[in-house]
Each structure stands twice: as C-alpha cells, then as structure tokens.
Symmetry: C2
Subunit: 432 residues, 2 copies
C-alpha cells in the first residue's frame, strides 16, 4: 500500500455493496399483499407494460394486495426502453391518481426502472433532470426517503429488481444515461420463476445473454482496489469488482452453465431451468449492480439506439429494435479478447464456470470468447452486429455512442480509447 | 412436488433472504458520519461496552459523526451476554437522554444486539417481552419503522452486524431466547478489519469458532424445501439452508481455511488474515442469519449458561464464563457426526472447503468432525466440555437447556430428541 504526502493510502481500500431482501420461489408473487401490508400501505400503484398486463400478472398482484386490505390500481403505460418522456408520463399518471403509499413494479427492466423513477419523483422535490447522473443531469441525491417498492421480474435478464439504478434515454440530448442512488433500490425483490414459463425461446436467449454479460463483465471489471481512494461523498454505486460481487457472479455463471440452453430449448416445461435462470438474473444483479459493467454494455447503447430496420423474431414486430440482451452481447467475444491481458485468470475462470467441460484452447485469450460464441450459436443469437443491420461502414457512427459511456468504460480492467472501441466493433460485425 | 387436498403444494417452495448494505475495508469506520448524515440524523447514540470504549473506537466514531454535523453521545453500559435487565438499563438510558435520530453499535454481538433492542424499544410501543420470540414472549412484530442503525463489529465472530435478531437472557425464566424480525436488521454494516488487529489470540480463536459453527451449521441445516409450506404470515427469519445462504457460507468456509490459523498465530501483524476473518464473520452472518443454526448452537446455550468457575485465558478474569465461540463449538464434532447421515454430501463438502488438503478418511462420517478437531487443537480451543468444567454427571442437567431451543433444533437436518442430545454431550466431554 503506497501513501500520498498526508500519509493517506492512495489506493482504494473500501468497497460497498447492497441488495434488496429477496423472496424467491414458486408462488412468491401471491404474497405481495402481505409484504406491503407490513409497511402499513393503504394504497399502492402497480406499474407495468401492456404486454405483461395481457399475461394477467399485474392484476393477480393487485388481487393479492386486495386480500390484505391494500387498495391497488394498475398503470400499464410503461414504455419499453424508457425515456425522460415516458418517465414523465408515468409520473404524471401517478401524481394525478395519487398519493400512493407504495409501488409494485411488474415486468422487465423497463417496468422496474420506470417504477423506480416514479417512486423517486413522487417522493422527492425537483425535476427528473436534477437526479440524472452528471454530466447529463445534476446528479442530485434524493432529498427524502422513498416509498416501499416491491419489484417483480417477469423476464430472466436485467436483474433490475436487485439494482439501485434506472436507465433512460434523454431524448433531447440523444443519450442513454441513468439515475443511480442506493435509495432507488427496491425494498423487496419478489422472484417467482413460474412467471417466466411462457417466454418465447428468442426472448429467453436474448435476456439470458444480458445475464451472461452482467456476470462476466462485473467478474472481469477493474478490481475496486485499483481505483484511487475516494472520500465518502465521492463513492459511486459501481465500485469495481470486489469479493461480494464475485461470489454472486460466480454462482450466476454456474447456473447459466447448467441451465441456459435447457431454458431456451425446453423453457415451456423445464421448471428447474427457468428457476435457475431467474436466480442467475437476480444473482448477477446483486453482483454487477455494485461492481459495474464495461465494454460490452457500453457498446450495447449505440447498437440498440441507432437501430435501422432490424425486427427480431419472438418480439413484437411493430417497430424495429435490437433487444438489450443482443445489443450487449454482440461485441462481448471481441471485448473480452481485448480485456483478457489485464486480468487473464479472471477471464479463464469465467470461461471455466460458463463451460466446465470445454477443452483448453492453445491461446488462453481465446477461451472465454470461444465459450461465448459456442453458447450464442447454440441458442440462436445473431452472428455479430452485421446480423442486426450494421456494416463496417457504420462503425465510425457507433463509436461516439460508446465513448459517451465513460461511467462504464472506466470499469474496464484495461484502459480503452476510441481506436480500441472501433476495432472491437469492426471485429464484431461477424462473430463466427 | 406432492399436493394436499386443496391442490396446494405441501412442501415449501419459497425462501427468503435479507442482508444489510455493507461498507467494508480499512478506514471504513471513519465514514460513519457521512452515512448517518445521509439519513438527515441530527443526534445519534453510540452504543458500546466499557472494554471496547477503552480501545477508543466509539469516540473515534463519535468524532466522525461530529465532522458531518451530527451530535453524538456514547453509552458504554452494554453488558456482555445481555439480558432483559441489561437491555432495560440501556433503553432507560436512551430514553432519558433522547430522542435519537439513529444509533451506532460498536463492539461484539452484545453491543450490536443491545443497540437493536434499544432501537426497537425507543421506536415502537409496548414492552420488551411483547417482542421476545414466543413462547417466552409474545412474538409481536414491531409496530413502527425503526431508526437507522449502523453496526460496527470489533470482533470477527458473531456476524450480528448482518442479522435481524438479537439474543438475550430472560433472567426471571432462566432462559436464553431472542427477538427476530427483519426490521431489527442494521441499516448498514461498517466492517473495518483494522479494528480487530489487537484482539488476543484466545479471543480470535474462540470468536473464529463461532464463525465456523455459523457457516457449517447453516450449510448442513435442513433444506428450506424440506419444511412444510408456510403462509406469508407464518414465515420465520430462519428458513433453512437455501441457495443464497449456501453461497455466503461456502465463501466463509474458504476464507476460514485460508486464514483462521494465521489470524490466531500472527493476528497482530497479519492484516490479510484479519481481513479474511472479519469478512468470513460477516459472510457467515449473511448466510446463517437467514438459514439458521442447529445442534451446536442449541448446546451452546446451557454450556455457557450453567458455567461453574471456568475462567478462560485472554478474557477478563473477574467472572467465570464460557466464551460463546467455545460454548457453541465444543459439541460440534459430535453433533456433525450425528447429523452426517441426513446430508452426507453437505458434510463432506463443508469438510472439503474448511480443509482442502485433508486426506480422505475411511469413514466419511468422520471427515468433518476430524477437520474440526484438527482446527480446534491447532488454535487452542479447550478439549471438550470437560475442559470448561462439565463432567459426565453434569450432562443430564445440561440437556433441558438444549431442548428448550426448539427453534434451532428444528433446523437440524435429522430429527433430534433428548437421548440424542444426551449422547452428543456425553461424547463431547473430551473431543480428542
């Protein structure tokens, strides 16, 4: 440990970690009424999107609330890939029908993130932009306690039920950014694997690759001790890989190795595989939500944001989109080829956890990329950014969108510049 | 999955888990002022015992609070092995000097448990006995939100900073019991390994055996799915071994294997070993605090409670005592010999994690007991309950004290009756 002139250590010696309490298992979603009644909640807003509402889950949650004497209404106006505008619409709905004693988010990352924002903006003073991460927003901390928020994921992917952040597009600035503060973390994550049984194979595959990237990116992230020492007021939610994020990510990778392919191939009937996958999603959220993610997620922002006319199978066909799990995973093999040299053992260990039976390749830097390529081929992920509409000539336009994600790039174990990102994108036009 | 007549599953399908946010590392204890200022706290009570106060840590915490504009006073009247009487004295002090916006507990399990009780009884209505677990008390849930409580462990042992319960002697009924509810869990655990550097080897050894028992007992506990299905209002803090408690306990056992002996032999200078041990204590708390412990801890209650004139080296000599970590570990080898048959793979895996290099014994049931005996001999734990003052003739008097701990015994993977306990105690008079 070296010291600066004042005798203070120059390297970080402290890491932070937090997670919501968890209620996990078949039938858990029918106990939400009891949980919110414990907080003395009288009126609760259930926040969801129209697709999830059609499945009946939000109204089942509302019934559970009614059984415990809690009045509940359902708001199903959540927008997939939420923006400042869609957050504002949800907040306006909540305010005009409020006040509320608590919230339940039912859905994927979009619903859970929207509920976090609604909770923040109906509990605290000020505007959305006050709370958005600097430099896009003012990075203000919530100035009041938030209301209880129960998060109920219906896909095995984002892990948003575990994390203290929400992601949004700021439309006027054409940038994807977030709000992150420990007060945004749900009060309780209710994870019921049976809610995921009917997901189509394509959604299972794509969402599952988001889990893989969460786990591997935070497992290979810069170690927390490799950052400079921070004062308490400078600490950020993403503090780098640490012993606690490691244990969650290791377990998530083991669950993926065991059950990801089965969940894609036989998800309609394989309860064990569905259970393992949503557990992996939650566990990876417990990890990356504190450690952080790096290049693959940073690249995922422009890859999703600049979509042309790609319409993925298994998703609604009314507008073009690159599903988040595809966007973040398409450059992952090449990104880990790049970051390998900075933390070889960690890349090899991740490869070993994800594919315990894979033969050892001659070039160790190829082990993790090949494990990912094997998996992506097997489960039908598009073959590189070329397969979702980007050619080599599009790469220069994508690079600035990645470089804006400095909050993520700083978590990469190896310093990364524009040329590095350009090369990674070029080499990801086709992955196999 | 079998079903009862109403079509409901008869086995439990749900587990619950919770843990406080964590700030871990050298220097973390100087950031407590910032943390409590974030809650808007104006006046905070630091709860500690006289021995810890002499080390200067509570006043250092108070200074940290003052730097962030938070008024702080130190109460150093915590009693080791707290009782209803000592809780009442602490509550009376807090009430007569209050009101308080938050609490900081600095010390071992006694200080942290006392602060939990003070927080409960100064925040909610009613008496201590209302909240004590039934059947001793009325098992009432806290009727109001509690104040922020930051827990700062100064020994690597109890893991009380992670758990949602506090343990006390009810003097009039001569019984040790507890209060457990998720609202008791600290708002934040601040774990600073440097606070443990000066612990004497005997305290390091004894406290460390408490960690070992937490990790191994909850790792070998009855699986949560092996209990009957509970309604949400029937769920208890200890839900049995589960995938989340497992991951914490596995990691804790690995840290113990790496660093326990070093912490005993070279604890004054081996920062890495101290760091590993207090991390193991916190991790084991994250695990057992949700899964539960079984026979060794149940036996620990009468072994500590009926002490004759045993005065352990390294501890204050003014009154006889069996340190908690000794009391819970002295019957552990024999208890795990007994429970082996109900979960052989788990006992073997625990042995493998605690002693990766130990040769495989002919009798697999002996593997874990021998690993524990090796460890206890090496670090100077007394050789059985005989070495702390109990002979074979004392065993019948100890048995009822164990049998009162049905809340713990029900967590044993194998049904256990009075004769079993008597045999375990008899075979633990001498462990090697």
């Amino acid at each position: 440990m070296s010291g600066d002139e004042a005798g203070e250590p120059a390297e970080e010696t402290i890491f932070t970690w937090g997670a919501p309490p968890l209620k996990f298992g078949a039938g858990a979603c029918d106990e939400i009424g009891y949980e919110l009644a414990q907080y003395g909640a009288g009126r609760v807003l259930v926040v969801t999107d129209p697709g999830v509402r059609e499945l009946g889950i939000p109204d089942r949650v509302a019934d559970s609330l009614h059984r415990y004497g809690v009045a509940a209404e359902v708001f199903d106006g959540v927008h997939v890939e939420p923006s400042d505008a869609s957050f504002a619409a949800a907040v306006e709905h909540a305010e005009s029908h409020g006040p509320w004693d608590g919230f339940v988010a039912v859905g994927g990352g979009s619903a859970i993130d929207t509920a976090k924002a609604v909770n923040l903006l109906t509990s605290c003073t000020g505007e959305l932009i006050d709370y958005v991460n600097a430099p896009v927003g003012r990075g203000k901390a919530p100035d009041r306690p938030l209301k209880p928020l129960v998060a109920v994921p219906t896909t095995a992917g984002t892990g948003a039920e575990s994390t203290a952040m929400c992601v949004l597009d700021v439309l006027s600035m054409k940038v994807k950014t977030g709000i992150s503060h420990w007060r945004l973390r749900p009060s309780l994550a209710v994870v019921d694997p049976l809610l995921t049984m009917s997901l189509p194979p394509e959604v299972t595959a794509s969402s599952g690759m988001d889990i893989v990237c969460h786990a591997v990116e935070s497992y290979t992230a810069r170690w927390y001790g490799g950052f400079g020492r921070r004062a308490p007021e400078e600490r950020v939610t993403y503090c780098g890989a640490n012993p606690v994020s490691d244990l969650w990510c290791e377990k998530a990778m083991g669950l993926i190795a065991k059950s990801f392919r089965r969940a894609v191939y036989d998800g309609a009937t394989d309860v064990e595989a569905r259970t393992d996958m949503i557990m992996a999603a939650t566990f990876a959220g417990m990890g990356f939500g504190n450690a952080g993610v790096h290049i693959p997620h940073a690249n995922g922002y422009p890859i999703a944001g600049m979509v042309g006319d790609y319409r993925p199978r298994g998703y609604p066909q009314d507008e073009p989109m690159v599903p988040h799990g595809q966007a973040v995973s398409l450059t992952a093999p090449e990104a880990f080829r790049f970051s390998f040299a900075a933390a070889p053992e960690r890349h090899l260990r991740a490869a070993g956890l994800l594919a315990p039976d894979k033969e050892q390749l001659d070039d160790p830097a190829e082990q993790l990329p090949q494990v990912l390529v094997d998996l992506m081929r097997d489960i039908g992920i598009p073959n590189g950014i070329g397969a979702v509409g980007y050619g080599e000539s599009d790469v220069p336009a994508l690079v600035p969108g990645t470089m804006k994600q400095q909050r993520l790039l700083t978590t990469c174990p190896r310093p990364v510049d524009e040329e590095d990102i350009e090369r990674i994108l070029l080499n990801s036009v086709q992955n196999w």
